[in-house]
């Protein structure tokens, strides 16, 4: 029936709008450090004729890029570093770490990064190095080890600033699964070419749905206006 069809098409337009919003955000963050893209797919539930958008966090590895800055830290492999914020612990994929005025290791926003025991890492002055296993060395003496944890993608909520809230308590990553890379930055895992393709498909599909809606509207118009007229 045309009215039902129009409802279905309206839901469909809503789906493509969400998809376009998600894609626009992915593309806007193509230069954001360690950004993880959202992928949108449609699912049709058995009891509903409408497609519903399903968003999946794509945790695939981004390309690593050398910066030469010693405190730029990237993770190779699954997992996250942990930062202590005002609102509790948050996960992040590394990036430009720094030292605050009193020598604590913090993220870019000045919130302390935690070690394997959940403690803040304070560094005495000296030459800083970070080993692949996350051990932080000052003048070759270990002062702590970065905590690297993991959580399932569907239990993570983005909070901006590259941070994630874990809905279930994160667990330590398997030994050797993840290496900490010093002097590197992880790039966004957003493939620009694929992004453009998706964008084009979304735009065309949206137009097609609008066109279908107009056709159905025309049918309704005929039914209302012309049928029964002699």
């Amino acid at each position: 029936m045309p009215p039902e069809g129009i409802h279905a098409l309206a839901r469909s337009l809503g789906y493509y709008t969400t998809a376009q919003e998600t894609m626009a955000n992915n593309l806007a963050n193509v230069s954001s450090e360690a950004f993880k893209a959202f992928r949108i797919t449609a699912r049709r539930d058995a009891n509903s004729p409408f497609p519903v958008p399903v968003q999946e966090l794509d945790l695939s590895q981004g390309a690593l890029r050398q910066t030469g800055r010693p405190l730029d830290v990237a993770l190779e492999g699954p997992g996250f570093l942990v930062v202590q914020t005002d609102r509790g612990e948050r996960l992040f994929r590394g990036g430009g770490l720094q030292l605050d005025g009193v020598g604590r290791l913090t993220d870019r926003h000045g919130d302390p990064v935690l070690d394997a025991g959940g403690r803040i890492i304070a560094l005495p002055p000296g030459e800083i190095a970070i080993r692949h296993d996350g051990t932080v060395l000052v003048d070759d003496a270990p002062v702590g080890q970065l905590r690297v944890v993991t959580a399932p993608a569907d239990q993570l909520r983005k909070e901006g600033q590259g941070r994630y809230l874990a809905l279930t308590p994160p667990t330590p990553v398997a030994e050797g699964a993840t290496t900490v890379q010093e002097g590197m930055i992880e790039e966004a895992n957003m493939d620009a070419v694929r992004g453009m393709m998706d964008l084009l498909l979304i735009q065309r599909a949206y137009s097609t749905n609008v066109e279908a809606m107009r056709t159905l509207d025309g049918v309704l118009g005929t039914v209302v206006g012309d049928v029964g007229r002699v």
Binding site: N25, A28, Q55, R69, G96, G101
Partner: protein, 262 residues
């Protein structure tokens, strides 16, 4: 109003900033002691929309979430304090630091600024000053009618005096290092200032533990690599275009929507 237009605009702005930073790096490819910067971006707020409920076997269910991001923003423009190449000049008052440390200079207002640019000269009074005329700490005066001036790698300055060519020590250049040199504030004129982020300066002498050595007759070249900057510029330009395309796709969807009603 379709919010994606603003999302895409933030992406375009980010790439514009990227180009600005690259342009400044490239403009300073020949600036003594210059340290390149790199724009770092991060995602911003997410609007979380409750998704559909997925029923599981026990009758309960989890709620999926859809998170709509609102674009990107500049997180920081960290300076990269990697060593620049040493360029020999042969001038006796051209100094470079190989390793950690900054020369300290006194500005006219009495505050101390820090620099890696060691192209020094002498003031009318014989004091060692930067080419901007600021006194180099701890303040070293070269006596008149001195002969050859020598700066040792430890920073000790000696001059030859008299016809016998006797060497006398006239001072030692003091240098400073920071816990977080990326946190120093750019003042222009190749000068940097201490901030809360950089931490307090630790002063000492060249070749002390943790400090670099001083090279005489040498200047530290800019650490900008032209090829790297060019590659980054191309990437930024393409990313700008992609965001412009995303914006036009969003705009097109709005236009099409307006055509539903005839």
């Amino acid at each position: 109003m379709n919010p994606t237009l603003r999302t895409s605009a933030s992406g375009m702005q980010a790439q514009q900033t990227m180009i600005d930073v690259i342009a400044n790096n490239l403009a300073n490819v020949n600036t003594t002691g210059f340290k390149r910067s790199r724009a770092a971006f991060e995602d911003v707020l997410y609007q979380t929309i409750q998704g559909p409920r997925i029923a599981n076997a026990s009758g309960g269910g989890a709620v999926e979430a859809i998170q709509i991001g609102k674009g990107t923003r500049l997180a920081a423009i960290p300076r990269i304090h990697s060593q620049g190449a040493a360029e020999g000049t042969g001038r006796s008052l051209d100094l470079a630091i190989d390793g950690e440390g900054f020369f300290q200079v006194e500005r006219p207002d009495g505050t101390i600024a820090y620099t890696r640019d060691g192209s020094f000269g002498l003031s009318a009074d014989g004091e060692i000053v930067t080419h901007g005329g600021y006194r180099v700490l701890p303040g070293i005066t070269v006596p008149p009618e001195s002969g050859t001036l020598t700066v040792a790698s430890s920073g000790v300055i000696t001059v030859q005096q008299g016809t016998a060519g006797e060497s006398i020590e006239i001072g030692r250049v003091e240098i400073a290092r920071f816990v977080n040199p990326s946190g120093l504030l750019n003042l222009g004129e190749n000068l940097l200032a201490e901030t809360e982020a950089s931490g307090r300066p630790v002063t000492g002498f060249a070749q002390d533990a943790g400090f670099g050595r001083i090279l005489q007759g040498t200047l530290e070249a800019s650490n900008v690599e032209i090829v790297q900057e060019m590659v980054d510029m191309i990437a930024a330009q393409r990313a700008y275009e992609i965001n412009a395309r995303a914006m036009s796709a969003g705009e097109d969807m709005m236009r099409v929507t307006n055509e539903i009603l005839r």
